[in-house]
């Protein structure tokens, strides 16, 4: 009955009823998507509405009052904000390039191991730190890098004569050393796991290429340089682009490794927002920290879009989102 009625109406209504029939046909799928939809709304879309607080004074108790761009003016005049901004970019980017470079070198040499059992053992070992939490990693390194006779690294440096026992280095508590130590820990933790993707690419190289190169007189180095490394180039770019899109999100690793003494070189935007909100000692002004967060999200958004375009260019149309 209902269908007949619709068909007699204008053609526009006809296509609408076909749509309705299609929606009805897929009703089970809509039901299955519902939980995902609810989660996306609660955890991603409702917070987006909260961005309005960036233009207000809000402390969670009193009603928010509109203040326009006040927080942005304050933010751009704060040296702490700018240092957090540059720290975020420098730390993330340097970390990304160091771990990627290390992973590429390790992968190329790992690929040369002939004994398959030895290779498996090495892979199992170097993947392991990736699965340790940052809390555990920070705990381990704060103990072995401690500037005391109990710290492994400092004792080693004293025993080998590099340092004297009264010039021990406080690696994680000295602004001069913090970033170096942070990069080192990241290389230790993530290099191995990053080789997974490179090894997958290398496994796909046609072995005939190596044979042909051998006939042409290429030695081991020649093959590594002219076959193995070029094969990795696209994957390297992909890895860098995928990770560049995420550089603004740096939080946990910096947070658990930093302390008050090294904030000048280690405070990133997310940790800055955290301290300003939860650790400032005063009643928090959510408005200000939301504004900083909004700035962070916008820069992150631009980075993602740039990386997406780059990705489409070099990966035959495949974007990252």
């Amino acid at each position: 009955m209902k269908n007949n009625k619709n068909q007699s109406a204008v053609s526009n209504n006809g296509s609408r009823s076909r749509l309705a029939a299609k929606i009805y046909k897929y009703r089970g799928f809509y039901l299955m998507f519902l939980p995902v939809f609810i989660f996306a709304v609660i955890f991603f879309y409702l917070p987006m509405l909260g961005i309005r607080f960036a233009f207000t004074d809000y402390n969670g108790i009193k009603e928010a009052t509109f203040v326009g761009l006040k927080h942005f003016q304050k933010m751009f005049s704060m040296p702490n904000f700018w240092s957090a901004f540059t720290n975020t970019l420098v730390i993330s980017v340097v970390k990304l390039f160091l771990t990627t470079a290390a992973a590429v070198v390790v992968s190329i040499f790992l690929n040369e191991i002939i004994n398959i059992h030895f290779k498996k053992v090495v892979q199992t070992i170097i993947y392991l730190p990736h699965f340790m939490s940052w809390v555990v990693t920070a705990s381990v390194f704060s103990l072995i890098m401690a500037p005391t006779a109990q710290g492994l690294v400092n004792t080693f440096l004293v025993n080998t004569g590099v340092l004297t026992s009264d010039s021990m280095i406080y690696f994680l508590g000295d602004s001069k050393w913090w970033r170096f130590t942070y990069y080192l820990i990241n290389i230790w933790k993530e290099t191995g796991w990053q080789t997974v993707i490179f090894m997958a690419t290398l496994a796909g190289i046609n072995t005939e290429l190596y044979e042909a190169a051998a006939i042409d007189g290429a030695g081991r180095w020649g093959k590594m340089r002219y076959i193995t490394f070029p094969a990795l180039q696209n994957t390297i770019l992909t890895v860098i682009i995928l990770n560049l899109a995420k550089v603004m999100n740096l939080f946990e690793s910096a947070f658990v490794l930093q302390n008050d003494a090294v904030l000048d070189v280690s405070n990133v935007l997310e940790t800055y927002i955290y301290y300003q909100t939860f650790n400032s000692g005063a009643i928090p002004n959510y408005g200000y920290t939301t504004a900083v967060g909004l700035f962070k999200s916008l820069v992150g958004c631009v980075l993602v879009l740039i990386c997406n375009n780059l990705s489409k260019k070099i990966r035959e149309g495949r974007g990252i989102v």
């Binding site: 299955m32 995902v36 699965f131 555990v136 006779a149 994957t235 967060g293």
Partner: protein, 279 residues
Amino acid sequence: MKKKKIEIFPIVNGLIFIIVSLIIIVPMWKVIVDSFDLKSAYGMKLWPEQIGLAGYTSVFRNPTLYHPLIISFVTTIAGTFLALTLSTFGAYVLIQWEMPGRNFFANMLLFTMIFQGGMIPTYLVLKSLHLTNTIWVVILFPALNVYNLVLMRNFFEGIPVSLFESATLDGCSPMQTFIRIVLPMSKAALASIGLMFAVTYWNDYTHYKLYITDSNLYNFQMKLRSIIMGSDLPQANNGATENTVKNAAIIVVIIPFMIAYPFLQKYFVKGVNIGAVKE
């Protein structure tokens, strides 16, 4: 001359990787050694000078330890189950190319990868929903992971369409098709992505730090952090020193994973390759 070089290379390469492996192992080994060492001067020793379990007994005698351990287990199990449910449901819907609104749903999820509300608005929303300081927030929040959902979708795309069609012809509802066809054919993806979620939940620190202030709801990572920072150090007894106790606490957190890891490693690698195969 040239021939000799070729014979030497594998040995040098092998040695390099023995050294690389040692660099990875030594920090962890050092923690294990120190957790058993009752002499306080550890320094460079890579074998305990005076072996004893006092570090561990101090950790386990501490009555406030079991609660975080239970929280860690409960959130990991419940969270992984929920996260897999959401990922598979979402991924299954996203491969229904003909479904009206399919693109809207896909874009809705993908947009969250481009732009986020940020730390503070998220905190305020969760607070206004009375989710902060409940166990729910640390189970629910990490459960929707768009990246993993897309990985799952990539995997589902490999299932032959004819299987879906014949199931529909046999009168299977979407849910029945999902349970009878999709899940049994996706065991590898379920294992890898499920393990990734389990590790995320087990290692979670940020969500606790941001949304939970009630120490009764701390997981083991939070507990370990406060032990290491010295604010919640268990009393050292039977000759254990402060450092022995700290090292023992680290080992207690990572031991469940360390035992399972060699058996699970291949699934983790597979998980990365689900994404990489599509390169």
